[in-house]
């Protein structure tokens, strides 16, 4: 399956509808990155939400950048004497980068 990539801010209700979800693949990722099924309906949705088109590598860079920033924040958030398990309990696991499809 082919995909398109874009960025757009989710404004909430009707940003994507039930009917649109039946017509094309859609995934949301950090940095307001959206992976959209490559068909006419997907194109219409990107237009509807005024999505800014990205290449896959550009989209990957945005996602990775957001996660790396979060990793830095996580790394810098320490409490004296706290074990790693206690830190995970307090903050959750360290954010991990991943590859988008």
């Amino acid at each position: 399956m082919a995909y398109k990539y874009c960025t757009a801010t989710n404004w909430g209700k009707d940003f994507f509808t039930h009917e649109e979800r039946t017509r094309f693949h859609l995934e949301g990722h950090p940095g307001n990155v959206w992976i959209v099924g490559d068909n006419n309906y997907g194109d219409q949705w990107i237009s509807k939400i005024s999505g800014v088109s990205k290449t896959k590598s550009e989209a990957q860079a945005i996602v990775t950048g957001v996660i790396e920033t979060a990793q830095g924040v996580w790394d810098d958030n320490n409490v004296s004497g706290e074990s790693s398990d206690e830190k995970i309990s307090r903050l959750g696991s360290r954010p991990a980068t991943y590859n988008i499809i």
């Binding site: 039930h18 950090p30 954010p95």
Partner: protein, 601 residues
């Protein structure tokens, strides 16, 4: 392709695959809902897809107490929790909510503010919850990982039998006496599912994917599990027996809120995403006939399967779910109740107690909550009116002591108009609208009198075949109505009789399955619901009328009589108030989906 257009006047599409992924939950998808005002994870929630309360959580700093109310479109901030916290649980409705855990604190929300209640016996985080504010269930959690289960009775928590598999970060659904627990962290993550019968947990079929930090929604026979470990978008639907993978979330997330009444109507809000948190809400909803590519009656050729097909509406199993609570308190034997499930009206009736006074209160329902509007001019009970009226126009007729009064509601107030020819009380039947109505039976001893309203005045028309009181009537107007159940003599002999009005005369048709009086109901002459009533004793029984006969369908949550109905078909409606003293509403819904059918000879 066959030139069907030339024959029948429209084109037949040739499609490589069915346009619908299948009926029921298989055709449901997640759509975007409103965004939270406060982005956060590890929050809790309660309610249904169109009326959800979310509270607490964490946004990277101290624990939050922020509470927000979702109306199906957007969130509004309301009063905070007394104790900010994260990784806890909630249950109930938006006007009667319970928050518990994280670690032991319990709070109740009454629609306006939170108040502290008795703590859990075992304080814990990452637990799951189910039930209502006065009958809740808490199960699982950490630290340490536990299977402990506690019941809340509106006042205090009591320990009951543990989960068979101790776990934290699990999903939950259902009510106190019929709950479901699934997934969670046991080291390792588990797919294990257990169901609770009010006493003990039993292992049932596992999730397809072992997962923790997920959320759940629904009831023990119709649940949804979604999201979870690794910012999963995965969604699985439970049909009472097994889990099936269905359409995925758009935004994978953990530590978020799940809410919803069934596996066909759920909500996911907030949570942790990779590298941060989200304010996004997604709503899981079945396909509807309003979808432009999924219309009922769409004919197409499936070129892969080589079959001619048609899309058709299919109906699922109807069930009652809890709705809003009347603002003015308990209500039975109203003068009139009418409207539809999402826009209803109730006026007059009795309040609480063994010697209650009549009330004139009028309230409007918006699908999630009731609000008071202008009172009847004459407080009374035991009347009837245009049961297929609307929140903008209806009439209230007769009532206590044999009144002949008619009052007209115009959306903001009641005005007295022309009286009935025959005063009547003891719950006569009614049908129609503010401009075309019918009122029949009532009084003690019961009468067979029947009157027709043309928007201005009443005219006596052909009588019922059997004089009846404490019956139910419904119908679209004064030419089409249904009368069912009731009492037929002074000694209170109950009846299952059903009569059909065609504008000229009444005809006896097939009886109710259960003989009863003081029942509730709604609908039209070809599609109606009868619920509750006095057999005796009071009953939870619900029957659905298809224009020909009655079929027993899903029961009310609790037995009642003297209740009040609103609804325009056997697919959706309300049971409002009732006896014993009740201010609650139950919502009847038959899920509707569109599916693909192969056409054959």
């Amino acid at each position: 392709m066959t030139d069907f257009k030339a024959i029948k006047g429209f084109s037949v599409k040739s499609l490589a695959a069915d346009p619908l992924p299948g009926g029921g939950v298989a055709g449901a998808t997640w759509a975007s809902g409103g965004n939270l005002n406060t982005t956060r994870q590890a929050l809790a929630g309660a309610g249904i897809q169109t009326a959800t309360l979310v509270f607490g959580g964490n946004a990277g700093g101290s624990n939050l107490a922020v509470t927000e109310l979702y109306d199906g479109t957007s969130y509004t901030e309301v009063n905070d929790l007394n104790t900010g916290r994260r990784e806890f649980a909630g249950c109930g409705t938006t006007t009667a909510t319970l928050a518990f855990g994280g670690p032991a604190v319990t709070e109740e929300f009454d629609g306006t503010s939170w108040s502290e209640q008795n703590d859990l016996n075992t304080g814990r985080e990452t637990l799951a919850g189910a039930g209502t504010q006065t009958a809740a269930l808490a199960f699982g959690g950490t630290p340490p990982i536990t299977g402990k289960t506690e019941k809340y009775n509106g006042t205090s928590w009591t320990e009951v039998n543990d989960l068979n598999t101790a776990r934290s970060r699990l999903g939950g659904a259902g009510i106190q006496t019929a709950a479901l627990g699934f997934g969670g962290a046991t080291a390792p993550v588990t797919a294990n599912t257990e169901q609770f019968d009010g006493t003990s947990w039993t292992e049932v079929n596992n999730l397809n994917t072992a997962i923790a930090l997920l959320s759940g929604a629904g009831i023990q026979t119709s649940a949804l599990a979604f999201g979870g470990t690794g910012q999963s978008t995965g969604t699985e639907a439970w049909d009472g027996t097994s889990w099936t993978e269905v359409n995925a979330l758009s935004i994978g997330r953990t530590e978020f809120v799940g809410a919803g009444a069934t596996n066909l109507a759920a909500l996911a809000a907030g949570g942790e995403i990779s590298g941060g948190r989200t304010a996004a809400t997604e709503e899981f909803t079945a396909g509807t006939i309003t979808d432009t590519i999924q219309n009922e009656g769409q004919v197409y050729y499936n070129s892969t399967a080589g079959t001619m097909n048609i899309s058709a509406v299919v109906y699922g199993t109807g069930a009652w779910a809890s709705g809003g609570t009347l603002v003015s308190g308990n209500r039975r034997n109203s003068v009139v109740s009418c409207g539809v499930q999402t826009a209803a009206l109730i006026a007059g009736g009795f309040g609480s107690g063994s010697e209650p006074t009549t009330i004139g209160f009028t309230e409007l329902y918006n699908g999630s909550s009731w609000s008071e509007v202008a009172d009847l001019n004459t407080a009374r009970a035991f009347g009837s009116g245009s049961t297929n009226g609307t929140t903008g126009a209806t009439i209230a007729v007769g009532g206590t002591g044999g009144l002949a009064l008619t009052e007209l509601w115009n959306g903001s107030g009641w005005t007295e108009v022309n009286d009935l020819n025959t005063g009547r009380n003891e719950d006569p039947g009614g049908a129609g609208t503010a401009t075309s109505a019918l009122v029949f039976g009532g009084n003690d001893p019961a009468i067979d009198s029947n009157e027709s309203w043309n928007g201005t005045s009443w005219t006596e028309v052909a009588d019922l075949n059997t004089a009846t009181k404490a019956l139910v009537g419904c119908g679209a107007d004064n030419t089409s109505a249904l009368a069912f159940g009731g009492s037929i003599d002074a000694s209170g002999t109950r009846t299952a009789k059903t009569e059909l009005w065609n504008g000229t005369s009444w005809t006896e048709v097939n009886d109710l399955n259960e003989t009863k009086s003081n029942l509730g109901g709604f609908g039209i002459a070809t599609s109606a619901i009868a619920f509750g009533g006095d057999t005796p004793p009071r009953t939870v029984n619900t029957e659905s009328w298809n224009g020909t006969s009655w079929t027993e369908v899903g029961n009310l949550a609790s037995a009642q009589d003297k209740g009040n109905g609103a609804g325009s078909s056997n697919k959706a409606g309300l049971a409002i108030g009732g006896s014993p003293d009740r201010a609650t509403t139950e919502e009847w819904t038959v899920p509707e989906t569109v599916t693909n059918l192969v056409m054959s000879d």
